[in-house]
């Protein structure tokens, strides 16, 4: 029954020489369509060539798209795949699979974001969860949490604020109630993990290790670190790296670390987390914000502050993905305000290999699945057998000089 793909590949760390000491090399596959164009001109390739791998540069030792696991076997052993790639192909043949590292292979790159899709069961028959790329479940802590006092959500211009406060039944209850169900699903479920200390995170992840139905973990590091006076892990480079390292040492599960936008410069944090052993990064979590009561007698949310999400944050998230993509060479999962295919294409162009849809699900629960179809159709109409050629097209071809100032503010 369990057909989840946990294929080990060698893709995690293709060593690439750094061009500059401080700025890492851009992943070659993510840059430009040149890697695909060679495919269309190489009519003499054996018919067993995989369309997703076309354009492999032998000089690099390994096809970069394949290295990222984007695109795999659609139309393999079929000459049609190549012929079609010249001028539009059948959408059914487009392969949207992606490998986020350590064998976490998604059938498509459209995931649902933590906190907006519960445990995958709440939308019932309204959403066919099996067609999603992956599900990130609600933030899970070691012990049950009741969360913040209401009200917890309010709409804002092109967005919303939430202050749920990590309400959840605790990791043991999550495993008991849902893991059995997840194990029977084809869609991988990634458990979003939160904690107040490194020990918390490690303890949660240890419990998730080798539980059937748990395909990976996503660390929500936008949590106060009790050991450091409540300073969030996500805004403290050393703490972010330390928690990543500790979790990495504790588990073989695929490990995604989720970055916070509430920092001056996200790049050193992203680098530190990548160096500490994260398999992939996701970005971004919500932006800190607040709203007032209608009579302006105080804050509206029971918790005073909340996290801003929705289309309003997309430019911020796009900037962060763009910045992070230039300094790490592990896969990036983009999150923030996605409501349509153009948003997905923007994030891919900025260097992400997958996306998560959050707030938009509330208005349009079937959106993520439609985005899968839309992306497939987009690839087909461009004659792409896989979407790797769409990744990183907006990144600078050469890394610029290292920037040592804070977040680059571009007025």
């Amino acid at each position: 029954m369990k057909a989840k793909k946990r294929v080990m590949t060698t893709s995690a760390g293709v060593p690439t020489p750094k061009r500059t000491p401080t700025v890492r090399k851009i992943k070659p596959a993510w840059v430009g369509p040149s890697s695909v164009s060679s495919a269309t001109t190489s009519g003499k390739r054996p018919t067993t060539t995989r369309p997703g791998e076309v354009g492999a540069d032998p000089a690099r030792g390994m096809d970069p798209i394949a290295a990222l696991g984007i695109g795999d076997v659609a139309g393999s052993a079929s000459p049609d795949g190549l012929r079609a790639s010249r001028a539009g192909i059948d959408a059914g043949m487009v392969d949207l699979s992606v490998d986020l590292g350590r064998g976490l292979v998604l059938e498509n790159p459209v995931m649902v974001a933590s906190g907006t899709f519960g445990y995958g069961v709440e939308y019932g028959e309204v959403v066919d969860v099996e067609r999603l790329g992956a599900i990130c479940c609600k933030g899970t802590t070691l012990r049950p949490r009741q969360g913040n006092r209401p009200p917890r959500v309010t709409e804002t211009p092109a967005g919303m604020l939430n202050s749920i406060g990590l309400q959840n039944p605790g990791v043991d209850a999550v495993i008991e109630r849902y893991a059995g169900l997840w194990a029977g699903w084809r869609v991988p479920v990634i458990v979003n993990v939160a904690g107040e200390s490194i020990d918390d995170y490690v303890a949660v992840v240890r419990r998730l290790e080798s539980v059937p139905g748990v395909a990976g973990v996503e660390l929500n590091i936008s949590c106060p670190n009790v050991g450091k006076g409540g300073l969030q892990f996500a805004i403290d480079r050393d703490a972010a790296a330390a928690v990543t390292r500790a979790v990495r040492a504790a588990t073989d599960l695929p490990l995604i670390v989720k970055l916070s936008p509430n920092v001056a410069d996200v790049r050193p944090i992203a680098q530190a987390v990548a160096d500490a052993g994260a398999d992939a990064l996701s970005a971004i979590n919500t932006l800190s914000g607040m709203a007032l009561r209608a009579d302006r007698t105080g804050p509206f949310l029971g918790n005073t502050y909340g996290g801003l999400s929705g289309p309003a944050i997309k430019p911020v998230a796009l900037r962060i993905v763009y910045e992070v993509a230039q300094v790490v060479d592990i896969p990036i999962v983009a999150i923030g305000g996605i409501t349509c295919l153009d948003d997905v294409l923007d994030y891919l162009a900025a260097g992400a290999v997958a996306v998560q849809v959050g707030t938009a699900i509330f208005a349009d629960p079937t959106l993520p699945i439609r985005l899968v179809d839309d992306l497939r159709a987009e690839c087909a109409s461009r004659g792409l057998a896989a979407y790797g050629a769409l990744v990183g097209t907006a990144l600078p071809q050469r890394p610029g000089p290292p920037v040592s100032k804070g977040a680059e503010y571009r007025p």
């Binding site: 906190g115 907006t116 899709f117 519960g118 709440e122 939308y123 019932g124 028959e125 309204v126 609600k138 009741q146 969360g147 006092r149 209401p150 009200p151 917890r152 959500v153 309010t154 709409e155 211009p157 092109a158 967005g159 919303m160 939430n162 749920i164 309400q167 709203a291 007032l292 009561r293 209608a294 009579d295 007698t297 105080g298 509206f300 029971g302 929705g310 289309p311 309003a312 707030t359 938009a360 699900i361 509330f362 208005a363 349009d364 629960p365 079937t366």
Partner: protein, 292 residues
Amino acid sequence: MRLIDAELVESRRILPGQWIQWYHAPALAASVRAGQFVHVRTGDWSGLVLRRPFTVNTADAATGIVSIHFREVGRGTAWLTHLRAGDRLDMLGPLGQGFQVDPRSRHLLLVAGGLGIADVRLLVDEAIRDGRQVVLLFGARDASEVYPSSFLPDELEYVVATDDGSVGHHGLVTDLVLDYEAWSDQAFACGPLPMLGTLAALAAGRTKRLGVATLGRKRGAGRPIPIGSAQARRKAYLQVAMEQNMGCAVGACLGCVVWGVEGPQRVCREGPVFAANEIDWEAAVGAGAHKR
């Protein structure tokens, strides 16, 4: 629960700023129970990202028509008022737990404050259809906000209170409740939190005041009924429909909670209808007194 493509049949402003809209949505009309709601997608032309929850106000399975009753309070509801007959609306529903009427209850007391009438309106129809006697106590600020009796069935006893005395009882609707507490087998309410809190306090003292046993098995046989279960709610004298801002409306985001005696309760999933004794009234009235 499903996504429903509803077609607007008629839209009428029934009171200043208050509208009732009738939609053709046969699947919903056939399945919705009193107290349940739909989550309505508004146009996103002005950056609205959340749906709006509306209790189903009336439902007629024979014609496939359902109605919603709302006040124009923001851009989402303003958008709704501009819809014309034939326009389509995306509704997710029916959602949540409705009212639980004990089959043995003969006399139902319904209490509504202002727009809270929308939450109990369908219960009026269901109860009368089932041959029960219904009294509806309705409270409003003044005569201009009083729900028109022409929208209510004749079988109903409709008693009005206004804050300024311009119609009916001069004072709070909760003043009227004691007159009916002995007569009624069960009570159902929706309205502002302070009103619900007062009703909950009254309900808690009722058994003692009346010196009678409540409905249900007298002997202690059987297992204790878990709080929040449909059975426990059926046995409760007072059920209340709660309101809260919502995100998903299906139980996924935990955005819509009110505080219960056993911790946070999702209005969209465990509610919107709760037995009054499930709610931590001190916390609920304190937190919800301010609307945005």
